[in-house]
Symmetry: C2
Subunit: 456 residues, 2 copies
């Protein structure tokens, strides 16, 4: 159903304040769509946060808790502020542990304190632990409501236990076999339990192949492991090898999406991951100005190259006609190479020892591209300036496409060797470097050929 | 464990041909790592496909079937060719239905026919149906081994049924309630079944909120739905509303990754998604040459602009010094805007009606960026050419940054309105257009100011 119809229904529910109808509405639509429709109404100021909060209070606590995580953190905070500490505490106790920790950190310290006071001690400790992990770490992504089993339990007992805790756990499809110190001994899937002899012990059927991440690793590492090993959830261990949480596949998907956003934006020299519509003017200015100004200084090298060859230009102004074309092609070829290489490094597809092989292949491809481009541009040269100019531009084109590709290919590798993020070898940076090199090659070729009228 | 140690173990197993030890090896390591280690040996020609195939035949059919999908399709094909039709048919009968269909399409028609002849009629029909869907469609991604239930079954009966079919189904955690014509009536999760009263009917507890995709839709649509609604699996319906398959979260992750690859590469005008290391020279040449040559013609506009202002350049050669810097900044600002906008459109974050608002914000940001850049460049102008040149370059910078951003902002939108892929508004294309516009602005400003020596 379209979000538009849902917003109309919600406005009607806002007027009627019919709790039963609101409960039915939330039953009948996917929670993600309910949150999207409410967000639409909030964004367009057709409902205030207070009014939306009232609508939420019409539904059961369970539904509130399940729905809340689908709002953006910004709206979660605004909506939470419209509830009192007790209402919020009751709801958050039922929320997934990772989502409630994210929400609580958004609140004003005083209100946060009030809410925590309303919760029981165990939930409070759990939240305080989860919020203590650094923002980009696995700890800040994982949830602590995972299902544990004992190796000595029988399969039948294990299934019964999972059944009992099903409603409070993020997932019961993957359970973790731990000892009393929470050391991870193995994992067992609900599917394995269901197809096993009920009298066997869990220890007998569990998988000991243990794929895990450390709590302080980058979130990306967890996302890549989940994708590579096709996992539903990945266990997280602390430095003492105790299991402290799991990262689920849906959170891994969000991380992968954010990473992709960031890579794409970096390719254009904007280090930004988030919602463009909501980003403030100041933030976007800061994210963009640094690179733009830096690239100005890069372009000075091109300018300096041109200044050096001023006499040549004065003598053959027609050369300037081909300037944007030649340095543009160098930059474009470089941007292509750099982007291909950055991505190949990021996905782990290319590692150090493959580089020489890749470089040789790239040089060959660039050579072919250069020949094609040189033929195209030489025709243009003939038409605009005669055979000498044609020779100059064709030769220049061949060289700059190869050199540009070489720059684009090497820069990400050099950056990654120097422990910088290879994605900083953005298209604009490569283009700027390739431009400067292109200018020098162009006028060097031109000066050496055009000074000897015998050629051509 | 590191892949290096695994490759050594595999070489030892290759020599000993010890079936029991090989079975244990596969038990003790994640399947993804086993496939990676074998691929490493195949890539480096330490094992031939024949030898690797022999190693695979040492393990049980179930393990073979589970492991096979972790190889690249290229190696799957080579390995399959080393088995005889009967061995391959036995293994593929146990493979996930989507993976075996992908594998079978790789085989030589005659061998494919032989393998299909060895399979039972139902499996044969299933494969023939799956391979008939177009390559980029949901049909080519989905698997047909999903779990179905009847609305009249009790919860207890349903759990027993899922238990029975667990080993042949891609997942039993999400089951689909269908009628005799395979019309989808609802879904029920194993978790819901486990926490429900055993005597209730499935129809009573199933969820009727139905999120599905059509078999002929783009794979991306399925991946986005799975991510948005946090699904384990998404049902796929044909045109007659019959359920024909499911797309699972792990396949959705692969699609999302491929899409991200493609977006990033498109941002540099290379429409390529795949493994760079394995891509042939011919393929990479074709993927890159089209845009490079096209952009040559784009750059001709810049050249033409320069030719038009040849007299101005002849009189003030110093202007050429600033040319790369000014048109470069215009292009860089444009590339930033375009990349932000393309991504925002792709993730559905920005839709048509938001455009005016975004444009206004973008213009404001570009204005601020322009002021910053103009101040920086005017100092340079003072130093290189005096106050008049400083005025020209500052004014030009302010204009070209705003115009460049405007081009970068508008082009993806115009392309998407014209039903082209907005990602084609790659950084190189935007840079080329912004360059040409920049040249004209630069020399227009220069001509009008420098012709009147009173200014400045």
């Amino acid at each position: 159903m379209s979000i538009n119809i849902m917003t109309q229904d919600l406005m009607a529910l806002h007027i009627s304040q019919n709790a039963e109808a609101m409960e039915r509405f939330v039953e009948e639509h996917p929670l993600a769509d309910c949150a999207e429709a409410l967000t639409e109404l909030l964004d367009n100021q057709r409902l205030t946060a207070k009014e939306a909060g009232q609508l939420l209070l019409l539904i059961s606590l369970e539904k509130q808790a399940a729905l809340f995580g689908y709002f953006s953190l910004r709206w979660q905070e605004k909506l939470a502020e419209e509830l009192n500490a007790q209402e919020l505490a009751q709801m958050t106790e039922l929320m997934p542990h990772d989502e409630r920790a994210d929400l609580l950190t958004q609140l004003e310290p005083e209100f946060q304190h009030q809410v925590l006071q309303q919760m029981d001690a165990e939930d409070r400790r759990d939240i305080q632990r989860l919020v203590s992990y650094p923002e980009e770490s696995v700890g800040a992504l994982m949830t602590s409501d995972f299902a544990t089993l004992d190796a000595h339990q029988t399969v039948e007992e294990a299934i019964n236990q999972l059944r009992k805790i099903a409603s409070e756990r993020e997932t019961i499809y993957q359970a973790y076999v731990v000892d009393e110190q929470m050391h991870l001994q193995g994992t067992v899937s609900l599917r394995d339990l269901m197809i096993s002899e009920p009298s066997l012990t869990v220890g007998k059927i569990m998988t000991q192949v243990l794929i895990f991440v450390r709590v302080d690793e980058a979130q990306n590492v967890a996302a890549q492991a989940i994708s590579k090993y096709d996992l539903l959830a990945l266990p997280v261990l602390d430095q003492q090898n105790r299991m402290v949480g799991i990262v689920t596949y849906d959170d891994a998907m969000d991380v992968a999406e954010e990473e992709a956003d960031r890579s794409i934006h970096k390719s254009a020299a904007v280090d930004f991951s988030g919602n463009l519509k909501d980003a403030s003017v100041g933030l976007m200015y800061r994210k963009r100005v640094f690179w733009l100004v830096l690239l100005v200084f890069g372009n000075l090298f091109s300018g300096a190259g041109i200044a050096y060859f001023e006499d040549t230009i004065q003598a053959y102004v027609a050369l300037v006609f081909f300037l944007p074309l030649l340095i543009g092609s160098s930059g474009n070829a470089g941007a292509q190479s750099a982007t291909l290489m950055v991505r190949a490094i990021a996905t782990g597809e290319v590692i150090g020892k493959d580089w020489a092989k890749m470089l040789a292949k790239e040089l060959f491809i660039a050579g072919l591209l250069g020949v094609t481009m040189a033929i195209a541009v030489s025709l243009l040269g003939l038409w605009r300036g005669g055979p000498e100019i044609a020779l100059v531009v064709a030769l220049t084109m061949q060289i700059v496409v190869v050199v540009g590709s070489l720059v684009g290919m090497s820069l990400p590798f050099i950056l990654s060797k120097l422990k910088f993020d290879p994605a900083s070898a953005s298209a604009p940076l490569v283009t700027t470097i390739a431009d400067a090199v292109g200018v020098i090659i162009y006028f060097s070729v031109a000066t050496s050929i055009l000074d000897f009228p015998a050629v051509g």
